[in-house]
């Protein structure tokens, strides 16, 4: 039985190379984990524009660029970088313990527009 509400061990850190993302499906959600210089950040793996796999995007600083149409999201906030872009992506608290990446699937939060809704 997988506890999808709390901290879930997802994968070993060596599975996510530096400045790249990898997708995992955990508890029914497809998430993308990114490795930024010793930090791991997790967002939902679906661009709100046309559903592009964000895990395959090029990382620029703390943002990721969707490989399909170049939409850009901040990995720390899930917010789009340009105000003119539609929607934001959910982010998940992430931490590393003994070389394993843990994601808090219950800690999912989405940018301001959804919070306000």
């Amino acid at each position: 039985m997988i506890d999808i509400t709390g901290w879930t061990p997802v994968t070993k850190i060596e599975n996510v190379p530096l400045r790249e993302g990898r997708a995992v499906t955990v508890g029914g959600s497809e998430i993308a984990i990114f490795h930024l210089e010793g930090r791991y950040l997790t967002i939902e793996n679906k661009c709100p524009h046309k559903g592009g796999p964000l895990c395959d995007g090029i990382v620029s600083g703390t943002t990721v660029v969707c490989p399909l149409h170049g939409q850009r999201f901040d990995l720390e906030t899930g917010m789009p970088v340009l105000a003119s872009q539609p929607g934001c992506v959910a982010i998940f608290p992430t931490r590393v313990e003994e070389g394993v990446i843990f994601v808090d699937l219950g800690g999912r939060s989405k940018g301001q527009d959804e919070v306000a809704a």
């Binding site: 499906t25 395959d56 995007g57 090029i58």
Partner: protein, 803 residues
């Protein structure tokens, strides 16, 4: 008998003055003393030598030959220690005397060394001369903790130069903001952000109280009590006129040797020019006024009469690539009657401030956007009444008549302040040498070879004067790494940078983006012929998994089918793969190949293995295919073996990367069934010969290819193809298709530099192609040896053990 003219000082001001004297009728025999042992060099470019952008040889202004040609006695490495004004001789350090009828003091200035305890320790340097620069270059190495004391022009340029060499640099500045003599607080803040984004630490305001260390410097102690570790310290705290010689001779000297409007000192036989002078209470540290002084003095001393020197309004430009800073005129806002107009855009890092007085431009600060510098300088110099321009003053419209600005300019106006080149000099050179390019102007006049700020103006001059002006395109890659492709190729080569990260860390914003990362990946691969540090995170997803991403996140797979020729066995395997992986669509492409669409990332390696065919590179900016007709093999009309030649062409170039996708075609007769004349490269068979054509297109643009050359044998045609292919790889901008490239350069130039190039250049192109080819691999072999364990593998979540 000729009169003796002695010049003490072999720097820019003294020699520039002598150059002016040589242009006038005179009866002098000239001797120049210089205490540095080098021929005259352009001191303001030392920072570029430090940064490795120029070599010491590049900055020589007058080589030894120049002295000989003009019968000038150069006494280099000889220091003049005294003047006997009664006997009219100068005395060198060995006691030797040299007579003069007229004497010019051009002794320049020295680095000011603040009286801080410890400045005499080892590894504490100034940055003023070529020797200083060489000494710094010897010390600089990656990771060396370096402190630069002084946040002015020179300090920042030194800091950048050392940082490019890998040093960990901190700039320590006494004042609240950087370059406070040229910028206001806002401008200084923008500059600080820019400098920090390059990876240089800035500490403000910070007064250095002492340098500590046992013999060798170990660090700085500040007045605040804080300390900074440093194994190398560069002092760039300003300059002081070298006026000692004048003072000891009893000339009137205050901060500098006092001169009047004709550059005469208090002794009628002695004159002074350059940074050692003081004129109307002003001393000088920038190059442009020195040339004006030199011209005035040349007229004075030859007795030809002429203009007076009435002072100079300061203009300064920071010479750090990618950090655009320009300041000119008065920036004192508190001056009575001055009003200011401002614009800033933090995201762009752009800030402009214009100071107006009586509706005339009085001073300016330009940060980040210095495009309009020349318009402003023109307004300021000419005292233009700006009333009609007020609404557009921050973004002056580009002149509809580009020749207008140039036509309005008098011939005597200085275009290149660094090298003292006037409009008239450039026009004369253009006519005399038939110059059509900026490079030609640079070579013949030296204009625009120093700081580059007059480049735009030189281009306008060329455009106005010469009917067939050839513009050099200089496209900046992207704001993350704001250099042209040409500069980046030089930087990567010159600084031996092997990875995208290195380029971004040293020359960029340390982040990069989806535009510059793939472009830099390409440049590195091309420059180092594949022997670079490949970083897959800098590649687009297609180049990470060697397949073309589709709208649903699945991939398409196109195996290589050289020349469009396949076998029943291959077709069977393709069919089996389509069945086994339930491929939603199998499609014949326009490239005579077969596309399997809708493959999952995790299945890619298995699909490739089952196909047993190499990658067709249909997903990348690289060699796509060679489309062929059946040629002499089967066709009634074929006159050349187009299939054989096409397959061979594909073999020779496959697996290589190109600036944009690269499609080829080979046809066995001029009926052109495989459309070779609308391909990036085509071979068109004729009776007894091949036409090699380049730059064709049948996509978004349609363009008939240009004929590169007609040759007799297939081997010759393949070699011509190789030459063009490598030339395009090396000279096109990233994402520039061959048809744009051919139009930009013109087919004649391309012919001259490929098929008609000297043998040695051809061989070099082919050698570099061969080296790249030797390291190029079928990307699909990564199915056996992935670059990362999860390159293709779908990560499975970990088992959660019951608590």
């Amino acid at each position: 008998m000729k009169r003796q003219l002695v010049v003490v000082g072999n720097g820019m001001a003294g020699v520039a003055c002598v150059e002016q004297i040589l242009k006038q009728p005179h009866d002098f025999e000239i001797t120049i003393f210089g205490d540095e042992t080098h021929a005259n060099y352009n001191r303001i470019l030392l920072s570029l030598v430090l940064a490795g952008e120029k070599s010491p040889e590049d900055i020589v202004i007058n080589d030894i030959e120049w002295y000989q040609t003009h019968d000038i006695r150069a006494r280099l490495g000889v220091k003049i220690t005294g003047i006997d004004r009664e006997k009219r001789v100068v005395i060198d350090e060995d006691g030797g005397e040299t007579e003069y009828d007229k004497l010019i003091l051009a002794t320049g200035s020295s680095a000011f060394i603040p009286p801080i305890p410890g400045v005499d320790k080892k590894n504490v340097h100034v940055f003023r001369t070529l020797d200083d620069t060489r000494a710094l270059l010897e010390k600089a190495r990656p990771g060396l903790k370096t402190a630069v004391i002084g946040g002015g022009l020179l300090g920042l340029e030194a800091a950048r130069g050392l940082q490019v060499r890998g040093c960990e640099v901190t700039v320590v500045h006494l004042m609240e903001t950087l370059m406070e003599r040229q910028l206001d607080a806002t401008g200084g803040e923008y500059l600080k952000r820019k400098i920090e984004s390059l990876g240089i630490r800035v500490m403000l305001p910070q007064q250095t109280a002492a340098l500590f260390g046992n013999g060798r410097v170990d660090g700085l102690r500040f007045a605040s009590g804080e300390e900074l570790e440093a194994d190398l310290v560069v002092i760039a705290a300003g300059i002081r006129p070298n006026a000692e010689l004048g003072r000891s001779a009893g000339l009137e000297v205050r901060r500098g040797i006092v001169v009047n409007d004709y550059m005469a000192t208090s002794d009628p036989y002695i004159f002074a020019v350059g940074e050692c002078t003081e004129h109307r209470g002003q001393t000088f540290g920038l190059v442009a006024p020195l040339f004006d002084q030199g011209r005035v003095l040349a007229s004075t001393i030859t007795g030809n009469g002429g203009p007076a020197f009435t002072g100079a309004s300061p203009a300064a430009k920071l010479k750090i690539m990618g950090v655009d800073i320009f300041s000119a005129g008065s920036i004192d806002e508190s001056e009575a009657g001055v009003e200011t107009v401002r614009y800033e855009d933090p995201s762009l890092g752009a800030y402009k401030k214009l100071l107006l007085k009586d509706n005339r431009l009085h001073g300016m600060i330009l940060v980040g956007d210095i495009e309009d510098e020349h318009v402003y300088m023109d307004w300021m110099r000419s005292g233009t009444d700006l009333t009609p321009h007020r609404r557009q003053i921050l973004f002056p419209p580009r002149d509809a008549d580009p020749g207008r600005e140039v036509a309005d300019m008098p011939d005597s106006e200085t275009v290149c302040g660094c090298n003292g080149v006037r409009k008239g000099d450039i026009i004369q050179a253009i006519h005399a040498h038939g110059i059509t390019t900026l490079a030609g102007v640079k070579e013949r006049t030296r204009a625009s070879t120093s700081c580059g700020s007059c480049t735009g103006l030189c281009e306008k001059l060329l455009r106005a004067v010469t009917p067939d002006f050839q513009e050099e395109t200089r496209t900046t890659l992207c704001s993350c790494v704001p250099f042209s492709y040409e500069q980046l190729r030089d930087i990567i080569r010159g600084q031996k940078l092997k990875s995208v990260e290195e380029v971004l860390n040293v020359y960029g914003n340390r982040k990069g983006c989806e535009v510059c990362k793939p472009a830099l990946s390409y440049l590195l691969d091309m420059v180092w012929c594949g022997d670079h540090d490949e970083d897959r995170s800098a590649r687009f997803i297609n180049d990470r998994v060697h397949a073309n991403i589709q709208k649903d996140g699945t991939f398409s797979v196109v195996p290589r089918m050289r020349g469009g020729v396949t076998t029943p066995d291959e077709l069977r395997r393709i069919a089996d793969v389509a069945d086994k992986y339930k491929v939603p669509m199998v499609k014949v492409t326009g490239s005579q190949r077969i596309d399997l669409l809708g493959i999952k990332k995790a299945d890619l390696p298995k699909v490739w293995a089952d196909l047993g065919m190499p990658s067709g590179q249909a997903y990348t900016k690289g060699v796509r295919m060679v489309k062929t007709c059946v040629g002499t093999e089967f066709c009634r009309f074929g006159v050349q073996d187009s299939t054989g030649a096409g397959i061979e062409l594909e073999r020779r170039l496959e697996n290589l990367f190109t600036p944009h996708k690269f499609k080829m075609g080979v046809v066995g007769c001029p009926r052109n069934c495989a459309e070779a004349t609308v391909k990036d490269l085509g071979m068109v068979g004729q009776e007894g010969s091949w036409q090699v054509v380049v730059g064709g297109a049948a996509g978004k643009s349609v363009r008939k290819a240009d004929l590169l050359i007609t040759v007799e044998t297939t081997e010759q045609a393949l070699e011509a193809a190789d030459l063009f292919f490598q030339y395009y790889r090396e000279n096109a901008n990233y994402l520039e298709r061959s048809y744009d490239f051919v139009e930009r350069l013109g087919i004649e130039k391309i012919r001259k530099e490929t098929v008609y190039a000297p043998e040695v250049e051809k061989r070099n192109l082919l050698d570099r192609l061969a080296r790249s080819k030797a390291l190029a691999k079928d990307a699909w072999l990564e199915r056996e040896t992935p670059v990362h364990p999860t390159q293709f593998v779908q990560i499975q979540p970990m088992e959660v053990k019951p608590a």
